[in-house]
């Protein structure tokens, strides 16, 4: 192996992920596929709407809100959020003596944050593929999935970025308090805003909460499919801007984590 300058501590990359973190990501993706399998009787389009895009929460999609279906279909996302809510603090306890001093604080935290974000994207890509595969078992799948086109990619981009931001904000709260507190605070706020946005009389894009990062993915995704008839100019309708806003929300959490870790004691 090539020898590096002994005086430079800020070198290297994190070794391979821990088995538990890999299991959380793959397990939650499999759970989403399993939920889709159990609900495949709904029909291909309804399945995609319910499992992949949380349509059961939106009264306009089903005629009325389907809270139980919504909670069931949102379980895999919540499980992922809970499983990764203590990712940074748990990694810190494991890496304190052997990995952290070999890397330096900023580099370690930066790479941990990027891994947490990447985990959200991997989950999203995997689970979307599984749900799409399950929906292909239905005879009506052709026009449904085929018509979505770029919408499938936007789903991964928007929800992956949103999940990544949520995971990072969870971890930010968790390193200062506790994993459960971080999970409850961040996901409670997120779902609360979504629920508020869904209870209005018009579309989500018309709600006063449409600017909030939690609603960004929802509105922009509808827009990317051309489902925001006449409301394209409304807050959050441009998917590119929404990905950027969600990315910025994640970057803010990352910056605070890296800066805060510089003055944090590792016990």
């Amino acid at each position: 192996m090539r020898r590096r300058d002994r005086g430079d501590t800020a070198v290297g990359v994190l070794p391979r992920p821990r088995r538990r973190d890999v299991l959380v990501v793959f397990g939650c993706a499999a759970l989403r596929g399993f939920v889709a399998l159990c609900l495949r009787g709904l029909g291909a389009q309804e399945l995609l709407l319910a499992v992949l895009w949380g349509g059961a929460f939106v009264p306009q999609a089903w005629g009325q809100a389907q809270p139980l279906l919504g909670v069931i279909t949102y379980m895999p996302n919540l499980a992922l959020g809970l499983g990764l809510s203590d990712y940074v603090s748990r990694s810190l306890a494991q890496d304190a003596s052997c990995v952290l001093p070999r890397m330096g604080r900023a580099r370690w935290m930066g790479q941990r944050c990027l891994r947490a974000w990447a985990a959200a994207y991997i989950y999203e890509a995997l689970s979307c593929s599984l749900v799409a595969a399950v929906s292909c078992l239905e005879p009506t799948v052709g026009p449904c999935v085929g018509s979505l086109g770029m919408g499938c990619l936007w789903t991964v981009a928007l929800e992956g970025t949103l999940l990544g931001a949520l995971v990072l904000w969870c971890n930010l709260v968790a390193v200062r308090t506790d994993a459960m507190v971080g999970f409850a605070a961040v996901w409670g706020l997120h779902l609360g805003i979504l629920a508020l946005a869904g209870t209005g009389s018009g579309t989500v894009a018309e709600a006063p909460w449409a600017w909030a990062p939690s609603c960004r993915g929802l509105v922009a995704w509808h827009s990317s499919l051309g489902w925001l008839w006449g409301t394209e100019g409304m807050a959050g309708a441009n998917p590119w801007v929404s990905v950027l806003v969600l990315g910025l929300a994640a970057a803010c959490a990352m910056a605070v984590l890296i800066r805060g870790f510089g003055i944090t004691d590792v016990m």
Binding site: R2, R3, R6, V99, M267
Partner: protein, 218 residues
């Protein structure tokens, strides 16, 4: 012993109103073995955490090889640290664990890894995963990862914990070899007469304070 390895000046650390390090001042020359004794909770581990850069002092500072921690560097640039063994990958063998850690800085190669394992009495060809290791084997692996990159500063917190007689002999030999190589070794050696005998200087700690040097009227 030319030049200072570790310089601690007025190191004080308070955690939730409790003083765990109280105005510790000491200078340790390069290339020696320095032992720290004291009862549980006397501040030995906290002092080691301060010297290794894991905690930030409330007041005072630590300099390692002329670089101030927290200002010039996060961690001492060439340091081997043995605190606890929670950081290993349970599904990997001992050798694979060291390879993963060595891949971060790329200072140690396959030869150094094998040598480090042999020095602590572990078989480099052992195919058992770390999760199947006994506590003593885990402790040996922890010490192996600390020495594999031939660090200039070696910090061993209770290195003989959970080790059998053979393991303790290997650690004593290893500490001697590291001193002969020119490394500066900081070791907590409470109730370990054999380890205490190896130390060039031994300090006594109590209630977060450095009471003094053993043999210097103590």
């Amino acid at each position: 012993m030319a030049g200072g390895a570790v310089r601690i000046l007025g190191a004080t650390k308070r955690i939730r109103g409790r003083t765990v390090l109280d105005d510790v001042t000491v200078e340790l020359p390069r290339g020696g073995v320095y032992g720290f004794s004291g009862a549980n909770g006397s501040g030995k581990t906290m002092l080691f955490r301060a010297v290794s850069g894991l905690i930030h002092l409330t007041s005072g500072y630590v300099e390692v090889f002329g670089q101030r921690l927290g200002r010039d560097v996060d961690f001492p640039p060439s340091m081997g640290l043995a605190f606890d063994s929670t950081g290993f990958w349970g599904e990997c063998t001992g050798r694979q664990n060291l390879e993963l850690l060595a891949s971060i800085r790329r200072v140690a190669g396959a030869e150094e890894i094998e040598r480090a394992l042999l020095r602590v009495g572990l078989d480099p060809q052992d195919t058992r995963p770390f999760s199947a290791y006994s506590l003593g084997m885990g402790q040996r692996l922890l010490i192996a990862q600390a020495v594999m990159e031939s660090p200039d500063l070696l910090i061993l917190d209770e290195p003989t914990n959970t080790l059998d007689v053979d393991g303790i002999d290997l650690v004593l030999k290893l500490v001697c070899e590291e001193r002969a190589r020119g490394a500066t070794v900081l070791v907590s050696c409470h109730n370990m007469p054999e380890l205490e005998a190896l130390c060039d200087r031994r300090y006594l700690m109590a209630e977060g304070r450095l009471v003094g040097e053993v043999g210097d009227g103590i």
